[in-house]
């Protein structure tokens, strides 16, 4: 098999030691993933059982409130819920009944645990069971935790998909399952590339509508679209499915390697693979090259945010000519990030977790050309003269696969481009 796995002399990051840090974390909690999950599933409502802080986080992270009644909300715990004056379960049933009566379009209800609901040990799985019975068969109720004491940012999607996996029907049909919620336009590109290679049937998790939920079993092979889906992968394996390990489909090289792994699993010939991928590969290379000019030879420092960091570092170092100085990630899943890390020559510091003050000291000492960080840190670093790319955009913008490879490079190039354009402003 002529796999296009590129090689280099010497060790790769897959063997690098990991700097584990345990201090102040500056990352979102898993609730944030509701912002993109609810858009992926237009028949779902996400009900956070939490505090005013949870509601405020969702509102602040969403940035805009273009929906009068969004398909997410927070059941805010009040003093009486905590003091035991009101049975929280009765209260929850009442709020859910009220919500569902207002929103007949809702077919899936996610009860999302939060920090306060975890600490008071409010059993949402019991609530989900009870509510499923009460509202069957029209509505499926699933619970998971998006709490900040259990999950960071993208782990919220992982927890959600893992919980969904538990309630998928069983089926041993041989099928390909694409796992991870991408914007529909990108998901459709993936489906069409795979269909052109003759692989069928192909299903997605999450499915856009509840009735399209895949059956799962020993015949299922799955490929992750996002690197942060470790628990979901485990849950799928428990149901008999097998993972197709691959680098993540970012950039021309990553997308090709990802598709190649799928093609190999399903016995697609080299000729077919070549025919299907040649044109989009060429387009992607060209698009990346146009943006990468500004990134060539520049250094980049990743602060932990989404677990996308190893994959993005691989893309930037191999396709855009950048030098990663530190690859920080909130949680490093060796099994999933391994194929990406194996493609990065050793050198950068690999760090997991965070002690934000110490990490910022390292940023200031290294003075990278570009720092990838969260929104709380970006402007302060810019004010110190360091160019930044806020990482949340890498999650909210379509960046996967061939047709978005140029856009992905563009996201990193734009801050540098901007600084160059308005350089005369600095006094």
């Amino acid at each position: 098999m002529n796999r296009p796995v590129p090689t280099f002399e010497g060790a790769s990051c897959a063997d690098s030691p990991v700097l584990k840090e345990r201090g102040q974390h500056e990352v979102f909690c898993g609730l944030t993933s509701i912002i993109w999950l609810h858009r992926k599933m237009p028949d779902a409502f996400f009900l956070v059982v939490g505090s005013r802080t949870c509601a405020h986080l969702l509102q602040s992270a969403a940035g805009v409130m273009i929906f009068a009644e969004p398909r997410f909300g927070t059941a805010i715990l009040e003093e009486q819920d905590l003091a035991g004056m009101a049975d929280a379960h009765d209260e929850l049933d009442r709020e859910v009944a009220h919500l569902l009566s207002r929103r007949p379009d809702i077919r899936r209800l996610f009860l999302v645990g939060s920090c306060p609901s975890e600490v008071i040990k409010l059993d949402l799985s019991r609530a989900a069971e009870r509510l499923t019975k009460a509202h069957a068969p029209h509505i499926q109720v699933v619970n998971y935790s998006g709490s900040g004491i259990e999950t960071t940012f993208t782990q919220g999607e992982d927890a959600c998909l893992a919980a969904m996996t538990e309630v998928l029907p069983a089926g041993d049909e041989r099928q390909l399952l694409l796992v991870g919620s991408l914007p529909d336009v990108v998901e459709d590109q993936a489906l069409s590339l795979i269909a052109e290679m003759g692989i069928t049937p192909v299903r997605t998790l999450p499915a856009r509508r509840v009735e399209d939920a895949p059956a799962i079993g020993a015949g299922s092979r799955f490929a992750l679209l996002q690197p942060f889906l470790g628990d979901t992968a485990l849950a799928l394996e428990r149901r008999g499915a097998e993972m197709i390990a691959a680098p993540m489909p970012f950039g021309e090289e990553g997308t090709t390697a990802w598709l190649r792994a799928i093609a190999d699993e399903f016995g697609v010939s080299d000729e077919v693979f070549e025919r299907v991928t040649a044109a989009p590969r060429a387009r992607a290379r060209k698009a990346v090259a146009a943006k990468a000019e500004r990134l060539q030879g520049k250094s980049v420092f990743f602060l932990p945010d989404s677990q996308l960091e190893p994959s993005l570092a691989r893309f930037l170092s191999r396709e855009c000519g950048m030098t990663p100085l530190e690859i920080g990630t909130p949680f490093l899943h060796r099994g999933i990030a391994g194929p990406d890390l194996a493609m990065i020559p050793s050198g950068p510091v690999l760090s997991e977790g965070q002690d934000v003050e110490r990490q910022l000291d390292r940023v200031r000492a290294a003075r990278p050309d570009l720092t990838v960080c969260g929104m709380g840190l970006a402007n302060p670093l810019e004010a110190e003269g360091l160019a930044t790319k806020w990482s949340i955009e890498l999650i909210f913008t379509p960046v996967h696969l061939y047709e978005q490879a140029g856009d992905l490079a563009g996201l990193f190039a734009r801050p540098l481009d901007r600084r160059a354009r308005i350089a005369g402003l600095a006094s």
Binding site: G23, Q24, H25, E26, V27, F28, C29, G30, L31, T32, V49, S51, R52, T53, A55, H56, L57, Q59, S60, M65, I66, A68, E69, P70, F72, G73, T74, A75, I76, L77, E78, E79, D81, L82, A86, A88, E91, R94, E95, H98, L99, C115, P116, E118, V119, I120, S147, G148, I149, E150, T152, E357, M375, G376, L377, A378, N379, P380, E382, A383
Partner: protein
Amino acid sequence: MKLSVWTYEGPPHVGAMRVVTGMKNTHLVLHAPQGDTYADLLFTMIERRDHRPPVTFTTFQARDLGSDTASLFKDACLEAYERFKPEALLVSASCTAELIQDDPGGLAEALGLPVPVVALELPSYQRKENFGADETFFQLVRTLAKPMDRTDAPSCNILGPTGLGFRHRDDVVEVKRLLADLGATVNTVAPLGASPADIASMGRAHFNVLLYPETGEAAARWMEKNLGQPFTRTMPIGVGATRAFIDEVNGLTGVIAAADDSHLRMPWWSQSVDSNYLTGKRVFIFGDGSHALAAARVAKDEMGFDVCGIGCFNREMARPVRAAASELGLTALITDDYLEVEEAISEAQPEMILGTQMERHIGKRLGIPCAVVSAPVHVQDFPARYSPQMGFEGANVLFDTWVHPLVMGLEEHLLHMFREDFEFHDAAGPSHHGHSSAPAAPATEVVEPAQIAAYGDGNAIWLADAEKELKKIPFFVRGKARRNTEKFATDHGVAEISVETLYEAKAHYAR
């Protein structure tokens, strides 16, 4: 338990963050899980601050809960003190840490730090952001401020401006200018821009200017009682309130001075004939209590609007807002439920909303123009230009920002004159404000005399002539005319809407 989709206020610890982020040489250690660090971005992104808020989060995780979250908190305090060397350290817990009851105050006290430690009790499950800011500032003042000799010349402190405050940055500048004209020296502005040392010297002032009751009233009352400093009651928003504020300050300094109003244009702008069209515009006002009250006064007495609805989201201000509403012959809407506000606005059918960013979105959906007069803040509320709400320049700013969402006076007359011209087909719409969300029929549509059509969920049907007449009404008020007519028809049991019904309804609602 209460379902919330959008909130007007954050939790109380965000209020505490607004106080310390506005200040200098102060640090807050917050016992909180990692998710709570999202609040940093409010300051760095919305307010575009070039520094991180001076806040350390302990970011405890589930695995810490079984072991020792208390020592995690103590370590965070020590490290924060070592790294930032603040003049005062504040400690508190966010909603989750409140549940694990680690007693941040006691733990921090036991560390024996060489600076004042202020422990904040912020009941997350009862109170909200404004309370958090008010309480934090009050506790700081109570701990740090002491009675001391007064300055020789009349002087005052300005109380209430915070980080992430609605136009606080520019209001402070404008009010300082006013006070300078009036011969009152400003001793300390706090919390915004103050250090703990500045707060400690607040006792030197003769009186206090309470700029924002929401975030400064508890401190003002305590200082009145314990430092003998009276405080001003008028928020100088609008021409009349600014003049009343000047009188109040003159009363406190004992010197009758006038403020320079040579740059005040608002009265003439409101008196000039172009503003005739503003007369009797029905406005719905919603915001924090003090800004809603101020907006009502300006709307009624200075812009010549009719206030058709008023309310606030902070229950603490319910009493004065209810009183003002009853003077206007209205019932105040006191709620933090966004859907209730949307319903009330939809019911009142105002021609304009004076609200918050939340009402701006409501207005977009309902096709009603909106000017923003109150927190909660949005990146648009931190403009690059100088844009106060208070004082004489503030009055100028109010006139502009309230009028711009409306169709301009002369332009409205021209639109009316040319409404039948083909360039003014409905789809063109006005370019500078949201137009009716209801899709209007194309102007070229030929209505057959016999053709009748039913609209909406009302029972009445529109006769063709009435439908044709409706089209002659300018598009920016047509939706309202249609709704009013249908409501009139339903209320009066009219099954078919004729041209006559249309004008009867017009007369009915014009009364």
